[in-house]
């Protein structure tokens, strides 16, 4: 990923900033040009709570470059308590034990690095919400 694109996406990748339609209150993550529910282009920025549950998931055993040291790991669609669904890596757990409906919580994690000399990219991941 190019540095400018990574930089542009920092608000949502770091802080889970979403867009709430001022007309119908629908929440979009990431933000949309126009509301998928009512077509309005009038949004306010809100921060998602970082809490949700697994909607569906899979286990990655053959990872893309940069993730080989983490296999096997979970990838899932997390349904946030506010409604939006986010595809994210699920870390800090035995992926074999994950199941639909498990409560998840946001963690700020290292995603990948651009070689040994390039920029280090950070963003959200999710971990089982076990109270730690």
């Amino acid at each position: 990923m190019q540095v400018p694109r990574y930089w542009r996406e920092i608000p949502k990748r770091y802080r889970l900033e979403a867009a709430q339609c001022k007309k119908c209150l629908n929440i979009s993550f990431p933000e949309k040009f126009s509301c998928p529910e009512c077509g309005s282009r009038d949004f306010k920025t809100i921060k998602l709570s970082g809490k949700g549950k697994i909607s569906t998931h899979t286990i990655i055993r053959i990872a893309p470059e940069g993730f080989n040291d983490q296999v096997p790991y979970g990838m899932g669609i997390i349904e946030m308590d506010e409604g939006p669904r986010i595809m994210a890596q699920i870390t800090d757990c035995d992926p074999e034990k994950l199941k639909t409906g498990d409560r998840m919580i946001y963690q700020f994690r290292r995603i990948r690095e651009d070689g040994s000399t390039g920029v280090i990219m950070y963003a959200y991941k999710f971990v089982p919400d076990v109270g730690i």
């Binding site: 700020f108 994690r109 995603i111």
Partner: protein, 348 residues
């Protein structure tokens, strides 16, 4: 009044036992366990580093402080494992917690006392009125060379403290520093692992500076060890803090709540701040707490805090340190540890 309005910690879930490390290097595990009072240590996951631990600890501090992160005017991250040689960890933390753009930030480095350096600066900035709130973090994913004695203790963790003037959970009563130029531990530019002076890290380094700082602050405030409910020392292992506590006249009841190294290891810049956080987790209003860091090179910062009624109200808003330390641990063997810590030479 100046003091702490919120605190939070982060400990990785992974652990490796002393026996597992000793087995690989042909060392005698009971000797390390007995001699250094170490049983296991935390290990960062491959996707954790100083920045991620700092952010996750700071977010827990914000849960307790319940302030608008945009009101934080200064962010200081003390560590000797900043992810970049040139590019601040503090900007990553400030952006992730929502403190940007009106915030002053700096990365600090002073071996294991970089965390309390940040606390010292943050407290005094708030005290001066320069900023309404200041965030100080001690965090490390500590390095220890394979097979070296440090490998048994070098661990990972972070503690974050938000300083302010109102709604304090612990009021700062006094501070004192004790510092000399003492080369007991260092890491040269471009080197991956630190080196140390073996036994020289003891009497002329750790013990001289810690006792120097304690004697100085007790003299300055005209206080004595039994005036304090709790005391927290820097914890390079499980042995040094116990020895220095006894030498200075502190009891087990005072130092055990903040003694984490036997099952956490040495989290370097996070070490004494995390012990302090564990103590805040159990402190009652009105308790006097003495915190003494130590950083090789060498120096100690001493702080006296008194907890307020507010402590009971905020402590359950975020995970407690002992919960993070003792529950949901994932034990790994040396091979996984070597992979996680990038000690295995890969083709590219």
């Amino acid at each position: 009044m100046t003091g702490i309005v919120g605190y939070g910690t982060k400990i990785p879930r992974y652990r490796i036992k002393v026996e597992e490390i000793a087995k690989v290097w042909g060392a005698d595990a009971p000797t390390y366990k007995r001699g250094l009072n170490l049983n296991e240590k935390s290990v960062p996951a491959p996707d954790e580093d100083c920045a991620t631990l700092s952010v996750n600890a700071a977010l827990n501090a914000l849960k307790r402080a319940e302030i608008d992160p945009a009101d934080i005017g200064a962010v200081y991250v003390g560590s000797e494992s900043h992810p970049y040689a040139v590019k601040p960890t503090g900007t990553i933390v400030s952006e992730a917690i929502g403190a940007c753009p009106y915030v002053h930030t700096a990365d600090l480095e002073f071996a294991c006392k970089a965390g309390t350096e940040g606390m010292f600066i943050a407290l005094n900035l708030v005290k001066s009125g320069a900023v309404p709130y200041a965030l100080a973090i001690g965090a490390d994913t500590s390095q220890g060379a394979p097979g070296d004695a440090l490998e048994y203790s070098a661990a990972a963790g972070a503690a974050a403290f938000i300083m302010g003037k109102d709604n304090l959970i612990a009021e700062l009563k006094d501070t004192h520093c004790f510092m000399t130029d003492t080369p007991d531990f260092w890491r040269r530019e471009y080197k991956h692992y630190p080196e140390h002076g073996g036994r020289f890290t003891g009497a002329p380094a750790y013990f001289k500076h810690v006792t120097g700082a304690v004697d100085a602050i007790l003299g300055k405030t005209n206080m004595k060890p039994d005036d304090f409910k709790y005391v927290i020392f820097h914890q390079p292992n499980g042995k040094f803090p116990v020895l220095v506590a006894k030498k200075l006249g502190f009891t087990e009841q005072q130092y055990l709540p903040g003694l984490l190294s036997p099952t956490l290891g040495n989290t370097y810049s996070g070490s004494s701040p995390m012990g302090f956080a564990a103590t805040l987790d159990i402190a009652k209003p009105g308790d006097l707490i003495l915190l003494i860091s130590y950083g090789s090179g060498a120096g100690s910062d001493a702080f006296i805090f008194e907890t307020t009624e507010k402590i009971d109200e905020v402590r359950n808003r975020a995970p407690k340190l002992r919960t993070q330390l003792d529950e949901h641990k994932i034990y790994i063997e040396y091979g996984t540890y070597a992979k996680f810590r990038k000690k295995i030479l890969l083709p590219n």
